[in-house]
Amino acid sequence: MAKTLFDKVWDKHVVDTITDGPQIIYIDKHLIHEVTSPQAFNELAERSIPIFRPQQIVATADHNTPTVDQHLPVKDALSRNQLKQLTENCQKNDIELYGLGHEYNGIVHVIGPELGITQPGMTIVCGDSHTSTHGAFGTIAFGIGTSQVAQVFASQCLLMNKPKKLRVNVNGKLKKGVLPKDVILYIIAKLGTNSGTGYFCEYAGNVFEEMSMEGRMTVCNMSIEMGARGGMIAPDETTFEYIKNRKFAPKGDDFEKKVAYWKTLKTDEKATFDLEYSFDAEDIEPMITYGTNPGMGIKISEAIPSLDDASFEKSLAYMNFQKGERLLNKPINYVFIGSCTNSRIEDFRVAANYIKGKQKAPNVNAWFVPGSQQVAKQIKEEGLDVIFTDAGFKLRQPGCSACLAMNDDKIPEGEYCVSTSNRNFEGRQGQGARTILASPLVAASTAVAGKIINILEETSTLELV
């Protein structure tokens, strides 16, 4: 029978099927961090259940960590305790931990791929909804709750009902200045925040085939923002090239054998989907959001729509925007480039290319937060840090930072922040903070102009992107 990419990976991981119930799905890699793991460790300890496969778990500290002075003790007592518990739990259970300051430390969805932990055909879970990121490699990867973290600790398996299958096709030629972030914001704006609930999404078409791995990760990362548990892109030469020679990637003959298998991981021509959408690349423009969920997005030059709906109006009231308003020239005091969506080397290259020779606007506070120590290192190696410093920007240390504002990186009440992160929920970046989601290019241009500008009109700089 013709199978989709998703079917192929899923079916290979079915341990057992409960009649009229879920299936037992084997999990190859389990990524953990300090915020959603402590209660799971406690649960197992209380029930005297050992961790079944500690070698298949990798831990990092990212959500609740400072992005300055990481060499000093963490100031906040609760955060410090959470990090201490993670360290103790990992030591006790023989789990590899890339803690604060470690050369491999960083955001869980940045380090997995860059260390070669993430590989095609795997199942990967993490107590974080943006685990969908790893789907960029043709991986079934999805976020889980803490009870499920405990289940994977105990059995390396999860009980799951097989999701339905959705495919989103984007074909054609993207305009200059349109980045992968714009593609996914466009898709979510078209389909809505719950269009993918109950589905696993495959992204197909030449637009994704021509994207870098970093771009594919940005797209898959935001699958959950349309409700889909995960998103996937079929692995190809770009994928294999990215994985080759990474720390935990298979080497030599093993690598070649794996590649032969990975090449089989694509949707068969006759395979069918429960739901399918197609979009033209030419219709996509740089995107921004104006509301309090990622589906509330428009092309940067468009006006906010006028809907007669209480939830919509509540959202606009929170953002202090009016129906029909345009956001071009809106003064912006905060810019955040970071998060598991856009904190990889390519994102900083885009920002640096734009910023080179320009200056930060005096009204702007900009936080540039690399996704990992490895990204931070590469930024230096490529000299991007000099470009940022010359323009008046400062790089911070790796972590989730202002994406969810668990640490001190909070946007003040009432302020707008043009952010490369993934969620514009009320208070997401700090109590009363107003988030406008955008690509790293739009974020960089906002940081320079001090207001939202139409990047498509800046043709001279677009040659660089």
Binding site: V15, D16, I18, D20, G21, P22, I24, Y26, V35, T36, P38, Q39, N42, E43, R47, I49, N64, D76, L78, S79, N81, Q82, G127, D128, S129, G143, I144, G145, T146, S147, Q148, A150, Q151, A154, S155, Q156, C157, L159, N161, T193, N194, T197, G198, I224, G227, R229, N293, A310, S311, K314, L404, A405, M406, E413, R423, F425, E426, G427, R428, Q431
Partner: protein
């Protein structure tokens, strides 16, 4: 896990759509390492103003509305996978959430914590919201065994769906860990098979 079979209670209306888990429990409260105390901070930034004063316009602060059922707008629980949202709702005293649509991860987290997510049609949700908003003493009867939602003293009856396995778990208070551990042999056999 606490068992759940049937609940008859008044309900609290929250018609807002797309209530995300950041609203249910803001990220700054995720620093705890146990499951206790989250109920105090459920919907914190809707219940309280930034200066700590009570937001009297928010439904949880309206003494007319009480009960352990929350009736919420479409796409409840979207966003983050944080199970803290389920702990916060349970900690506050909610045992049932009724909506026309639930986000995937939240639904699973709720079920893993003895909270029953009851999915009803858009029309039914609209009727329920209108009814309980007007008549706060309206009682809703949630019968898990028969998968029926009924308004006490009213003609409204709605069947709801639930995964058979999860239903058995809720009624008996079982959790998935018990089940998975009972399948250890099969899991080990699977691992060995994959090595060849």
């Amino acid at each position: 896990m606490e068992k759940f079979e049937r609940l008859i209670s008044t309900a609290i209306p929250l018609p807002t759509e797309n209530v995300d888990t950041d609203q249910i429990i803001p990220a700054r409260f995720l620093k705890a390492t146990d499951k206790k105390g989250f109920g105090d901070n459920v919907f914190k930034d809707w219940r309280y103003h930034k200066d700590g004063s009570i937001n009297k316009t928010f439904v949880l602060n309206n003494s007319k509305y009480t009960g352990s059922i929350l009736v919420a707008g479409n796409n409840f629980g979207c966003g983050s996978s944080r199970e803290h949202a389920a702990w916060a709702l349970a900690g506050y005293g909610f045992k049932v959430i009724i909506s026309s649509f639930f986000a995937d991860i939240f639904k699973g987290n709720a079920l893993n914590n003895g909270i029953l997510p009851v999915q009803v049609s858009e029309d039914c949700l609209k009727t329920l919201l209108q009814l309980i908003t007007k008549k706060p003493d309206t009682k809703i009867d949630i019968d898990l065994q028969n998968q029926v939602l009924q308004i006490v003293g009213n003609v409204i009856v709605e069947k709801f769906e639930i995964d058979t396995y999860k239903k058995v778990c809720l009624i008996n208070g079982y959790d998935d860990i018990d089940y998975l551990l009972s399948k250890k042999d099969k899991i080990i056999a699977y691992e060995q098979e994959q090595q060849f």
